[in-house]
Subunit: 157 residues, 2 copies
DNA sequence: GCTACCCTACTCGGATATGGAATGTCCGAGTATGCTCGG
DNA sequence: CCGAGCATACTCGGACATTCCATATCCGAGTAGGGTAGC
């Protein structure tokens, strides 16, 4: 899994903490976490395309959550960055055997493919259970200092 | 996820079908599925190192299951080929912030890392529930022709 | 003093390099088989 | 005829290319804000 996922989730949590409607400066955020600014920006673009974030150009511009944090799950972010396709793709090598049995859809009938789909489904469900709002709340409850530090840093010019 | 996983699981199922103690020729198996022989061999080597397969050199050599098929899970194969490390690695970017709070282990306390671990655990448990023996049995029940075709092909010189 | 215009600075957006891992290929090490030669 | 030794063919094992994607970077497009000039 790409590194950008961790960055993106942290960033979304921070955006959940900032007042709604107020964009967060991408470069400033990268500076805060010591991340490559341009690359973080690139990841945000994927999130915009996926409908997780919205972007504001120009001075005082930046990124902000496109939906309420309760309606954004970790799965949304992961899928936006890693792509919608499941990790395991059945190449249907059963279709390569000599004189293959006529079969419309190997991926549907193949038991291996089914096993992989089941596992991926469990994985996605676990990620879909965690919303940005939930993570933000728990984090604030357990590490209240982090929130004020971020907000202070982003507010400071 | 690498392509080799699908090949390896199919191959292990076939090895579960062949008489115990009798090695399966890697090149012949690759020919059957129209796979690059040397590369399939390379994947098998990883499985040998992981203790899933055993190898026999020389004429009439090949690979065979190192344990009874009931004791080999799909997870064993995936971990052998993809590595033991979880897909998500917490880089603890919280430790990069200015004046970070003293914390021994970010990965343990970070909620994002916990979420990812939970999801990966669910994924692994789903894969660990499926044994090679189980897949082999179900496959034989639903597609009995496949088994005889494989065994015939491997038996033929 | 007020308003309309322009100019500048700032930020996102996509096109462009780079590195490392997954993929694919090749030749050497080791072994069982079958043949040969001697007893 | 029988057995030991040897040559051979076959298979695994790891070292060596190649391709592709994640990573990283840069410059152009568009916009908000402020400054300026005219009324």
């Amino acid at each position: 899994m790409g590194r950008g996922v961790e960055w993106a989730v942290h960033s979304c949590v921070n955006m959940a903490w900032t007042p709604p409607g107020e964009p967060v400066n991408s470069a400033r955020l990268a500076e805060f976490y010591k991340l490559p600014a341009a690359y973080l920006n690139k990841q945000f673009q994927s999130l915009v395309r996926a409908g997780v974030l919205e972007s504001v150009s120009g001075p005082h511009g930046g990124f902000l959550l496109a939906r309420r944090p309760e309606n954004i799950t970790v799965l949304d972010i992961v899928l936006a960055l890693e792509g919608q396709d499941p990790a395991f793709r059945c190449e249907a090598i059963l279709g390569n055997v000599p004189e293959p049995v006529r079969q419309e859809n190997f991926a549907r009938t193949c038991l291996i493919s089914q096993t992989m789909r089941q596992a991926e489904l469990a994985w996605r469900q676990a990620l879909a259970r965690q919303s940005i709002a939930g993570i933000a709340d728990s984090m604030e409850r357990r590490f209240p200092a982090d929130k004020v530090k971020v907000l202070d840093y982003l507010a400071a010019e």
